[in-house]
Symmetry: C2
Subunit: 747 residues, 2 copies
């Protein structure tokens, strides 16, 4: 009886389902919607969690998603369209007896040229859906045409790997260990109450032939006794390997019996849990104020217009936030010019640096395994985003094919941070002194994905000078390891630890984060070239100059994809330009944008290490192969250039996900590295730029119990795109225009 | 007659004197001061320029600098003290007949231990001045004791190089070419009216034996016809080499007769010069509002207190902005803990990449040759710094030894940019969802130095989590080269150009910027150790794990200075920690800060290239020597490790300036590279960390006629310094606390 009730308890509290739950409650504004189709799979659960108060400062008009219709060819599938796809699939013959589990159901974007041809009010390209589903252990990849109400393509197990995890998968797997005698024995032996147990299942990976031919998941548990921050209380060394389809425990491993569960002291990070204030002088209220309102408009739900920018913004279950059709107005002639067709975070690879049985498999591919959009919980007004932010919801399909709303998933706001756009002071002239300075105001589109323990903040920031800055902030809770030792004072061999102590009995395991962005640049049109503008050291000739050395730029246009596999080098510097060779400025320079790298950490894992094989990052060594059971020609191809920080590939609508369409347990046969290895010609073609932002993370005490945000980013910056500084004529700020403010109600 | 009047005109408009003029007007609040000692050298000039309106939004109480007294041992010399030093020097026997030209007159800071011992209200360490002066072509380095009214040390020509340029130097040199027949002939031949001529003299350098034994300056001219942006109108190829002491023209070079002066079209960047608005939607007013005022205090003129930070802030004629005694309060126990004894930009090296006769010498050392503080013109309220900024003046000595005020030179403001301090969302728990997010508010100290054409914005940003971010923004006007060709379409050999076309007949010459920061870290006390925490790739043993490779941290404590000559490597990554080995956390980790690199461009110039010899930056190759006339042992020492991005040296009060105390025409015998080469022991000692921020700049059309700001920076971040996240208990933002605003007067 005790066991049964615990199991019931467990079912409710223990696994990723709640994580997805929370992300899938009804939109408050829709709770009275007459269209029940917006209710989710999870409506039957009684203890469904509803949010309160997160919308309290939201002033924008709420959208009735049930009544929404698409206004742009790139608009995501509406709730009605998702319902239509479900109906079409229900009557599709192969699924007639059993409706499959829907792992992904999104817009199959029309061909680029159709989108580019489309004008507002014109005929819409056909609306199609791309569906990833599982049935009887097999992956189904389908295209559904909404206009003709037909399935127009259907492939079964097209390649290695599976769709991202469904809620059903997670829920089913997380029940398994509780009926496992060894597990219960181990939990009892450790003196842990089942009621405080939180088990998580977001662990997969692929590690060679032993784990092929079946869907595998790992299950790990934590204690939530005395804290909501159970991540700091791992039950170390206890790990179950479960077959997701047969629900068998393939392997039970319990190596951590001597390791205490770390104490809950100081782990609670909630504001209400703290009585004492921190030892610092209070900070007076400060706010970015815009009493006349923000200057941007969001038209038809997705078209953002601000200053000189126009772009399409949408939520995506896998990528999170997608920017499309980004265009900037030429400040001279008013022409709206193409910059980027599509930009999004394509994959997020997080390998941990510990080989032990309960750790080696922790090498996440967060976008392809869990979905960044799926993981994006509602943003908290005033804290995640400033006042005057506009919030955008996601409308996604649940695993039964029904639509649900992920509210406040993206925010959009204008930012003035006290920064300067340009300045010059001049005092060399007689008749006037010059003090010309322009404040910098930008537009930010933000999303925060909470992939289990980690929080990733994605910012796309647009500047009036044409620059786009893409930043990723890391926060949240560390994935920690229990240690038999209390502190460093007890440790016999510090070198054997996989990370530093960050609390008593808690080790912060060293890990990396690599975020690969898909950047389909279309500078002034679809056909672009990628140019490596090298800075090369030259020497003067004898007697030529008192100087001995200088730098010279050497431009090298990438002819094929391999020419554009770029490993950044500090001592062999380059600028990397995407240019339109067919459009030149009045001075003869091709119009272009450059990518300004940042967050340049590179993966140092062996290229034939399984996690590395599956993720497009690396060093470019070639070393001998070992156990991998792939054919050697393929592997040779795959490994010979294993992943740089910058890549350029020929545009191919199907090559969106750097880790492959089916990333879960994939073997690396559908990655960016494989596509690039085809070495297609890319000069003056429609090409895609890929950039990987990297972080090495050696944890420290300050990361406990919740990490201060660490941010890095890169920029896309106009280079000879404009005829001159596009904000030369921008106005300075004047006192008379600024708001008149008084202290808030509580002052 | 025509010539004479032009010469007079030239005297007023043509040279750096006005630049320094503008920086030395009376402080408005002091213009009625009874103490005339605050008037400057330049009061006799009739056409002295006064500022208007820059202070219009300044609400803080203005300071009567004439009456100021020091409150802290590190406070800069007051106007009264500067006057005292001048009196002492006037009656000093060697200067009895002729008062020298004062090139620098600043506080000689007391010994560190005296400063650390000092408590408010306690006895002051003796006040001393450090003076650099020139007399009869000789450099004088003096110490003046204000308490005893005596010169306590005096060295003449202690090493190669001279003090930074004085206004007298510049004024005298800039008159020389006008009485030169060749110059006048050349100007006339080009059809240039002397009245539109602007000649500048900020070009020096040192290029081997031909330029030793005398002070050299180069003079270049520009046309201001039709534009205040004369920098875009170079009279290419015309350069005079002048002996600063004899005022002889040593060399006249005129190689650019076929090169037209670029057109003035579109070069004016002043707001009032533009009638047309840019082609973009207007941006509504936006402002960081704090109706209850900012939360920081500035006590006794220099002590800044904000949130958990306390530091001493002052203006310096050479470094610009100096942060001293930075301490952060421990959020757990309230202890005020030492972080950094002193931090400032020590040198700024800008080599241009063109070997031609009129270009090769352009390799500036802006701090040591011109002074970043000397070049810091008043900040523009609302545009350079947000509302609610506090402005701090500089009080400096003019070349006659009299004090003058450089107003509004530094601003201090709180910043909320819509960023997040930390966050986590949690939905895995039954009883509550968690949405915890904390907005990020920081404190920024800013200065903008306009060193001729370029503007450098220096930001020191303090975070409540203990992080210090140091950023440099580059803006202003490029140093451009006239081209005989109109555009790329006419150029026979693009490779022969030293940069791209950025306007008609205008080439933006490729150049670098390297800013070296002196960071005297004193983590929890003066004795610290520098640790290279390497991330090393390790391989698993056969059968040990399905994983093949992982990263492991290896800590290496630098024993001597050479161990801490660090060249950053992307594929051999490390964290660099400054720790206090005597103070450990409860877990046994030493308390520390790490330096988080950014702006990692490295200089690629040959280490024996003269500009490189003088500046501490580099690659670390050793190549054979050529023409340099230095003794070989010294050169071997100097070149064997020629300058990394990170250095750590033993603390030595005299080692403040990375390019040497006497940087002007120095030969590199007193640089950071030389000090470090002594290889002193640095483990658990009082040490100084040096970091070089680098930018490679390939100009583009967008940089014309004024450059949008390019920013880079690095961070000093606590690592096991706090027992846990120090802002764990910080409060979120609440709607009720925020200001209530209405549109400004003009709405």
């Amino acid at each position: 009886m005790e066991k049964t009730s615990s199991l019931v308890h467990f079912c409710f509290i223990s696994c990723l389902v709640f994580f997805i739950f929370a992300a899938s409650w009804y939109h408050p504004s829709n709770s009275s919607s007459p269209d029940n189709s917006l209710q989710t799979t999870w409506r039957t659960f009684k203890n469904r969690i509803f949010s309160t108060s997160v919308l309290e400062t939201r002033v924008q008009k709420s959208i009735d998603h049930a009544a929404e219709t698409p206004h742009h060819p790139l608009d995501p599938l509406t709730a009605q369209e998702i319902n239509s796809v479900r109906s079409i699939l229900s009557s599709y013959e192969p699924f007639a007896s059993t409706f499959p589990i829907i792992h992904s159901l999104t817009l199959d974007e029309p061909d680029k040229l159709e989108v580019l041809r489309w004008r507002k009010g014109g005929r819409f390209p056909p609306r199609k859906a791309s569906v990833l589903a599982m049935l009887n252990g097999e992956s189904h990849v389908l295209t559904v045409d909404l206009d003709s109400s037909r399935v127009t393509s259907h492939a079964v197990n097209p390649r290695s790997g599976y769709p991202m995890l469904s809620v059903e998968d997670i829920l089913a797997a997380s029940k398994v260990p509780f009926s496992n005698a060894e597990f219960n024995k181990s939990i009892a032996a450790r003196g842990i109450s089942l009621s405080e147990l939180i088990c998580l299942t977001p662990f997969a990976g692929w590690f060679g032939p032993n784990e092929e031919g079946k869907r595998i998941i790992k299950v790990l548990c934590f204690s939530s006794e005395g804290t909501p921050n159970f991540y700091m209380r791992p039950i170390e060394g206890l790990v179950m390997t479960v077959d997701l389809d047969t629900l068998e425990v393939l392997k039970f491993s319990d190596t951590g019996r001597g390791i205490p569960i770390p104490n809950s002291t100081n782990t609670d990070y909630r504001y209400n849990a703290h009585e004492k204030e921190p030892e610092m002088e209070p900070i007076n209220p400060i706010s970015m104020e815009q009493p006349e309102g923000p200057s941007f408009k969001v038209e038809d739900g997705h078209m953002v217009k601000w200053a000189n920018w126009v772009f399409h913004l949408k939520a995506d279950q896998r990528a999170g936030l997608v920017i499309s059709r980004a265009m900037v107005r030429d400040s001279e002639n008013g022409e709206l010019r193409n910059v980027m067709y599509k930009g999004f975070s394509s994959e997020l690879f997080v390998p941990y640096m510990d080989l032990e049985e309960s750790w080696y498999f922790k090498s996440f591919m967060d976008a392809g395994e869990f979905g960044l959009g799926m993981s994006a919980l509602p943003l908290v007004p005033l804290n995640d985003c400033p006042r005057y932010s506009y919030y955008m919801d996601g409308v996604f399909a649940a695993s039964n094919g029904k639509p649900y709303v992920q509210p406040n998933m993206i925010c959009l706001f204008e930012r003035y941070a006290g920064d300067i756009s340009w300045r010059h002071s001049e005092s060399q002239l007689l008749d006037s002194q010059i003090r010309e300075t322009r404040p910098k105001v930008t537009l930010v589109a933000r999303m925060a994905a909470t992939v289990g323990n980690y929080d990733y903040i994605f910012d796309w920031e647009f500047q009036t000078d044409g620059l786009i800055r893409i930043k990723v902030g890391l926060s949240g809770l560390l994935m920690v390891k229990g240690s038999p030792y209390h502190s460093l004072y007890q440790v016999p061999n510090q070198d054997a630890m996989s990370g530093p102590f960050i609390s008593e009995n808690v080790i912060g395991v060293v890990h990396d984060h690599f975020i690969t962005f898909h950047l389909d640049m279309d500078i002034d049109g679809v056909n672009n070239s990628f140019v490596d503008v090298k800075l090369v050291k030259e020497h003067s000739l004898p007697g030529e100059s008192p100087r001995k050395s200088y730098l010279k730029t050497k431009r090298k246009i990438a002819k094929t994809e391999k020419d554009a596999q770029i490993k950044l080098k500090l001592y062999d510097p380059s600028e990397f330009h995407m240019i339109n060779p067919s459009r030149r400025s009045r001075l003869g320079n091709p119009t272009g944008y450059k990518i300004v790298p940042g967050g340049t950490a590179a993966s140092l894992l062996d290229h034939d290490d399984p996690p590395q094989l599956r993720s497009a990052f690396s060093n470019n060594q070639v070393t001998p192969l070992s156990f991998l059971c792939l054919d050697s020609k393929f592997l040779h191809t795959l490994l010979s250039h294993f992943v740089e920080q910058i890549w350029v590939t020929l545009y191919n609508k199907s090559e969106q996900w750097a880790g492959g369409l089916l990333a879960y347990q994939s073997r690396g046969d559908d990655t960016l590295a494989v596509w690039s290895e085809r070495d297609r010609p890319i000069e003056n073609k429609d090409v895609v730029l890929w950039y990987t932002l990297g972080f090495h993370h050696i944890p420290c005490q300050e990361d406990f119990p919740v990490m201060p945000v660490v941010t890095s980013g890169f920029e896309l910056k106009p280079v000879n795109f404009f005829e001159r500084n596009p904000i030369l004529r921008a106005a300075p700020a004047f006192e008379k225009d600024l708001p008149v403010c008084r202290p808030g109600a509580s002052a």
